[in-house]
């Protein structure tokens, strides 16, 4: 999303789904995983919309959908590519929209070579470093872009700007062919790239019969254009793949071609799994980001603030104010200690050099480099791919702090875990010191969640926590306080940031809880000029929008994209104006970032000249008399910029974009069909087989994504692809009745009794082939482990015909673990740790396995079974490096 449109978040909001004429739910099981949000899909259906669900299994979403398309897990790009090909070959794209708002007409540089030319690789691939040099991907410019020299040698930057535009260095001055005829223009490059993704190829790759494919294609085309819009809904069904980001890219391209972006009933709805997972990427407890999708300083590149800014500041669009955002953050972090002289304390920030995501940390624990670990409201022992790897890491720590509601698997691993049961670990040998701290529930603390539609909503404390139970705000505030006290007298330079960090929050209540509102105010930011005669009588005044942030240290903001959440000193996230008393957009309930916009890029809901595309799909338009943009939502645009504004190259960054550029975070303001930057594994999505697939890649010589991150080592060996030892595909998913790794549901009687046992869903044909008995047990085995599950033989899982062979798929809900009331084996124990190169998300939705009737062995026999099965599959060879496949 970030690379295509400029922001890495859902582009619309759930209520808007009701306006869609066609809703495609793919990579999501919305009725089960977001049931209350699903009411808006039902609303659309009641108004006559077509609801299509594309999923390996027939689920509760499919039950009420108009069409269910069973698809082979891991082949979504082939299917979506087929749809793009259908649109391009038939010229069904929304031409006026595409020419004006996307980079379809921009010419690509000559030395770009497509996967069609290099049989699965783009130009610039370095097999040793397993990365691309993006020099050959650049777009053709009439004159070299300001700032960095044209085509500078640059490793493809990762998806750094989750919410920012592609990395800077370009502006909109391209060689273009608005007629889209020139073979080098993006439109034609796209056409050639997807030419082979024909309906026959889709059937051969995804197992989707041609008639089903055409039905989807026709529905989408019929429901796009000026009068009608279609929406896409996805979730981890797309992100949990080694090419996850490219899945979303494909959908972005399709939605841009059909002209559905930025329009009511259109867009791409990213459904997130946790209450504030969007919040935890906006204010990231992530290794590579600072709040507001600013990148963490990279060792060697960002040696000082000026280098950091110059390397990333955008030539046009709102990334052009990167300096104001980073300086305001530093002022929030260090307060008065941050002065222009010391680069506002830029050097007190630690630097990253490479991938430090959770798998690197777990391997660090196993190798002994990582000694201390905090687990806060998460359950990696069963919730993260390759549970055994996680538990082996936990067992090798010096100390571990777990904060949760009860003794979850990640806190109990040292006395109760599959490894203790199989003898691979002994309690007495595990040296990890464990602190299990009771955590407060959402009813026992004030705070805000950011939901899946970028909406900050405040939850008020209802009761005081009891006993030792404390909120995580309390825990980190007091931990910081104690550490600062202990280091107060230190003279060691590394302790300077610890002393300088602003930590003086007011506390309240019987447990000295730090004020969450004070923290939110800091996140919002202040203008720091002590202006006595200002209406607020001087002192720190909350800023009302990120446009007020300055680069001279006169403003602070803990997270620039959240600036405005405390506008006028009011906690906008706690606004509760009932939906019934305001418009269906409901702008006065909670606060959505950025600047309370509910549909992003909504400039595109109007023609280039500013008038709505159609009366039916009116949303934001130019009001000539008032001289500004108006409509049902906050315009995602410079309010007073005329639609015919040509773009002022010398004005402030956002003025350099023309009045017809809806994607204001992008350098060129355009939706990127072709993404020369921002993605590590290619400017265009390409079908690669999952890391573990029983099927050879029908399109290219390259089997799987060449840039996928693999860790070939003990406990993480991969199933060899196209191998008789692991002939079946399995995918993991959730059920309505449980929550992720079960920590918040398997301890509750009322939820556990609804889904008491771990089960696997298999088709009658597979049950016959492997004589699995309905209601009895089956053992599922991969190179990592073997688990047992009750068998659910059902027609809802269909074997797929891929040309002459049949692929069987097995469904595994992954909620279970060995603690709580409803206990069972963890499906994540089967999965390898194999990551997407852009965002390091493991491939959890597809892998290969074998299945046999009966329960799994207990004790050491389990390890033997797994190892014997693996060596038989490798016919005796030692574990091989999976990157050779």
């Amino acid at each position: 999303m970030g690379a295509s449109f400029g922001r890495g978040a859902a582009t619309g909001f759930q209520q808007d789904l009701a306006n869609a004429d066609c809703i495609v739910i793919e990579g999501s099981n919305m009725a089960e995983c977001h049931p209350v949000g699903f009411q808006w899909v039902m609303e659309a259906k009641a108004r006559g919309a077509t609801v299509i669900h594309i999923d390996p299994r027939f689920t509760r979403t499919s039950a009420v959908a108009d069409q269910h398309v069973p698809i082979r897990s891991g082949s979504d790009i082939a299917f979506l590519g087929g749809l793009i090909n259908y649109v391009l070959q038939g010229g069904h794209d929304f031409r006026e929209y595409v020419v004006a708002y996307t980079n379809a007409s921009v010419l690509v540089s000559d030395d770009f070579q497509d996967t069609e030319d290099l049989d699965g690789l783009f130009s610039g691939y370095d097999p040793d470093k397993r990365s691309y040099d993006t020099k050959t991907w650049q777009l053709a410019h009439r004159r070299p872009p300001a700032g960095s020299p044209a085509g500078a040698e640059k490793a493809s930057a990762g998806y750094q700007h989750g919410s920012g535009g592609a990395s800077p260095g370009f502006d909109g001055d391209y060689e273009m062919d608005p007629t889209l005829e020139d073979p080098r223009c993006v439109y034609q490059v796209l056409k050639r790239h997807f030419a082979r993704y024909t309906p026959e190829m889709v059937e051969r790759t995804c197992g989707i019969p041609e008639d089903q494919f055409r039905k989807v294609a026709e529905a989408l085309v019929a429901n796009s254009g000026p009068e009608r819009t279609s929406a896409f809904v996805y979730s981890v069904g797309w992100t949990h793949h080694t090419v996850g980001v490219q899945y979303i890219r494909t959908a972005s391209i399709l939605q841009l071609l059909l002209g559905n972006m930025g329009r009511p009933g259109g867009g791409i709805m990213a459904l997130r799994g946790h209450a504030s997972i969007q919040g935890s990427t906006d204010i990231p407890t992530l290794y590579n980001l600072l709040p507001g999708y600013l990148t963490m300083p990279t060792a060697g590149r960002d040696n000082n603030l000026r280098a950091y800014i110059d390397d990333q500041i955008g030539q046009a669009g709102f990334w052009g104010h990167l300096d104001a955002y980073i300086v305001s953050l530093l002022k929030a972090y260090w307060g008065d200690a941050a002065t222009p002289e010391n680069d506002f304390g830029f050097d007190w920030l630690p630097a990253v050099n490479g991938d430090h995501s959770t798998y690197q940390s777990v391997l660090g624990m196993i190798d002994g480099t990582v000694k201390g670990y905090f687990i806060v409201g998460e359950n990696p022992a069963t919730g993260t791919a390759n549970g055994k790897l996680q538990r082996m890491g936990l067992a090798n720590l010096d100390w571990l702090v777990v904060r949760d509601f009860n003794e979850i698997e990640s806190a109990a691993f040292w006395h109760d875990s599959p490894e203790i049961e199989s003898g691979e670990l002994r309690t007495e040998d595990i040296g990890t010191e464990v602190f299990l701290m009771p955590a407060a529930a959402h009813t026992e603390k004030d705070g805000s969640f950011t939901n899946t539609q970028r909406l900050l909503q405040w939850h008020n404390k209802a009761v005081e926590p009891e006993g030792d139970t404390r909120s995580d705000l309390w825990f980190y505030f007091h931990l910081g306080r104690i550490i600062r006290d202990k280091l107060a007298a230190s003279t060691d330079p590394r302790d300077i940031p610890v002393r300088n960090v602003t930590w003086d929050y007011p506390t309240e209540g019987q447990w000295d809880d730090p004020s969450a509102e004070a923290v939110l105010r800091e996140i919002n930011g202040f203008s720091l000029i002590d202006d006595p005669d200002s209406s607020h009588g001087g002192g720190k005044v909350p800023v009302s929008s990120y446009t007020e942030l300055k680069a001279d240290g006169s403003t602070s903001s803990g997270c620039w994209i959240y600036a405005g959440v405390y506008a006028d000193g009011v906690n906008q996230a706690n606004r509760r104006k009932p939906g019934s008393e305001q418009s269906w957009v409901a702008p006065e309930w909670g606060w959505a970032w950025p600047s309370n916009r509910r549909i992003l890029y909504n400039r595109a809901s109007a023609r280039p000249d500013g008038t709505p595309w159609s009366e039916r799909k009116k949303y934001v338009w130019w009001d000539e008399d008032a001289g500004k943009w108006t409509g049902l939502d906050v315009p995602d645009f410079v309010a007073t910029m005329r639609p015919d504004h040509p773009g002022d190259p010398d004005g402030p960054p956002e003025q350099r974009l023309p009045g017809t550029a809806p994607f204001i975070m992008q350098q060129d303001g355009l939706g990127w069909l072709y993404a020369p930057n921002g993605l590590t594994d290619g400017p265009l999505p390409t079908h690669y087989e999952p890391h573990e697939s029983p099927v050879a890649n029908p399109l290219y010589g390259v089997q799987s994504s060449p840039l996928r991150q693999v860790f070939d080592r003990k406990w993480n060996w991969s199933n060899p692809p196209v191998n008789a030892g692991y002939p079946y595909v399995f995918c993991t998913y959730r059920l309505t009745e449980h929550h992720t790794a079960g920590g918040m549901s398997r301890g509750l009687p009322y939820l556990s009794e609804l889904q008491p046992e771990f089960f696997c869903e298999v088709s009658p044909e597979l049950a016959a082939e492997r004589n699995l008995v309905h209601g009895e047990y089956a053992t599922i085995i991969t190179a990592r482990s073997a688990i047992e599950a009750r068998v659910m033989v059902t027609d809802r899982v269909t074997p797929l015909r891929l040309g002459d062979r049949t692929v069987h798929q097995i469904g595994l809900p992954y909620h279970w673990g060995w603690r709580g009331l409803a206990t069972g084996d963890a499906a994540n124990d089967l999965l390898p740790g194999v990551l997407d190169s852009n965002v390091h998300i493991p491939e959890q939705k597809v892998a290969s396995c074998d299945i046999m009737p009966g329960r799994r062995p207990r004790g050491p026999a389990l390890v033997k079974l797994v190892e014997d099965h693996y060596s038989k599959a490798m016919d005796g060879h030692p574990p091989a490096h999976s990157t050779d496949w």
Partner: protein
């Protein structure tokens, strides 16, 4: 007098006196308790506007409190997103916050075989010491070609998606000030 009231309240007698329901199927057999029933939400001390802690739809919840205890959690009809509705997990929120909650710090010493008690303040102090010690032991000032790192690779953290924005902010700020960079959460799984 009490006897007369007792006799008069006997449903069999009320069947005679209230002929509209002489079959004894409605008001005449309604007990005192039934006649005075009222929903516990009406008699709550306070009702608090909250948001469901489970998934990212962000359903509105109303939390009813009486005597310092949560007595009911149900949907908030005012929410434009959820319109007062909840899923099975959201509906189980009362059980989530009241059932089987750990309320004491548990401590396991290295190689220990049992959980032990530990009071909260001591635990906090011990954790702070360990952070400082591990940080010192694994501090990296510069990398192999002299570029500034100023970080520790000895401490990692996991979690954040189920936490508030304010909590994520303090965590990131504290860890960054300490130079701990291996900070991750569910956005990555």
């Amino acid at each position: 007098m009490k006897m007369r009231k007792l006799i008069a309240s006997w449903p069999a007698v009320r069947q005679a006196t209230n002929l509209a329901d002489w079959r004894g199927m409605g008001r005449t057999v309604q007990s005192e308790r039934s006649a005075s029933l009222e929903p516990r939400t009406d008699t709550a001390d306070s009702v608090v506007r909250s948001i469901c802690p489970y998934c990212a739809v962000g359903c509105g919840q109303r939390v009813f409190v009486k005597g310092g205890k949560v007595t009911q959690i149900e949907g908030d009809p005012a929410s434009p997103i959820s319109r007062g509705r909840l899923c099975p997990k959201g509906s189980a929120s009362k059980q989530l916050v009241t059932h089987g909650r750990l309320s004491k710090v548990r401590y396991r010493r290295p190689h220990g075989t049992e959980w032990e008690d530990l009071d909260l303040d001591t635990a906090m102090d011990m954790i702070a010491d360990r952070v400082i010690k591990t940080r010192a032991e694994t501090w990296q000032d510069v990398d192999e070609n002299g570029d500034r790192l100023s970080r520790t690779m000895g401490i990692a953290s996991l979690g954040g998606a189920t936490l508030d924005n304010e909590e994520n902010y303090l965590m990131k700020k504290l860890y960054t000030a300490l130079g701990a960079i291996q900070i991750e959460n569910q956005a990555r799984i």
